[in-house]
Structure formats: C-alpha cells, structure tokens
Amino acid sequence: MLKITEEVYNTLIEHVKKEYPNEACGFLAGEEAGLATVIFPMRNIDESPIHFTMEPKEQFNVLREAIKRGVKLTVCYHSHPATPARPSQEDLLELTDPKLSYIIVSLANKEAKLKSFKIKGGAAEEEEIEVIR
C-alpha cells in the first residue's frame, strides 16, 4: 500500500501533463516507506515520448534535499504518454531498486491513469494507492 497526499498527487499529474508528449519523471519522498508527502519533479534528459533517464547529479541533489528535509526517497515515477500504466520490458530490466515503489502514469486516454508497482528481479507487482489529505 502506498499513501500519497492529495497535494503531491495533483502536482504529479500536473507535471506529467506539462511534459506531454514526452515522458516525465521524478521522485516522491516521505517520512517512511510507503508514504509520499513531498514531490521532486526531475528532468528527463532523453526528452523523449518513449524513454526517460534521470541525470545522476540531479538525482544526488534531490537525495541531499530529501535528507535535509527529513524524508526518504520512496517512489520513482514516470509517465507513459501513449501506452498503459504498466511497466514496459525496459522498465522491468532497468528499474532495479527493490526498496522503491514505481508509479507509472498513463496519458493514453483522456484521464490520467496512475498505478504503482514494486519491481524485483524483473517482475512487477501492483500495489494499492491511497490518496490522503
């Protein structure tokens, strides 16, 4: 179960819509695993509608900011502008931090559709999302 504050949820949806038709990416952070109370939108250095890559230096800057704010990185998110909200083969191979949740936001239909997964050993398991106030 992943709990996300309403504010973070709304900011995340805004971010991925703003980056459309390219993929958007970023981190969410919280006081404990399974919680997302802070959002760190990041740059997709691929600037592509079918790929995303985070820049390592920016990742470490975000990590330092999270440490300063007393939160841990708990979620990596990215969007699928034209495909469903499920991990692609590339996602399953390359998203390898087993401690994170991975949110994928699909913009393939009118409404943004958001799902969260745990990925381990190349396999994904969907987890429930609860939006909290």
Binding site: H51, Q59, L63, R64, K72, P87, S88, E90, D97
Partner: protein, 67 residues
C-alpha cells in the same frame, strides 16, 4: 565504525570497502548504482580501493531510466 548512508547513520565493520558496503546494503547489481563518497562521484573501478572512515558519508542511487 559509523557511516552516513543516504542520510541514515549505520554501523559497519572496520576496514570495509565500498564494493563490500554495497553488498551489505543488498545492492544486487552494483553496475546499476552511482556512488558518491563524501560528496565525490566514484567510478566503478574505484569501489574496491575506497575505504570509508568513521563518520564518512556514502550515498548511492540506482540508475533511473526506462521506457
């Protein structure tokens, strides 16, 4: 010795190098992480020769990319 790992204070055996530390931290694919040792990026071939001292800071993050 005590080290700050991704902002969290943890205790490790003295004499551990970065490659061993990543194993202790359950990193199964060291090729998929970037490491900063006291704020400086380490190259992968430097992991075996980098030995943190008490109160050093080691941050590591997985590559984040996909499709």
């Amino acid at each position: 010795m005590n080290l700050l790992i991704n902002g969290e204070k943890k205790t490790f055996a003295d004499g551990i190098n970065i490659a061993q530390l990543l194993k202790v931290e359950d990193v199964e694919s060291p090729d998929m992480v970037s490491v900063q040792f006291n704020g400086e990026f380490l190259k992968r071939h430097e992991y075996d020769a980098a030995y943190p001292k008490d109160n050093d800071e080691v941050n590591f993050l997985y590559f984040m990319g996909g499709g």
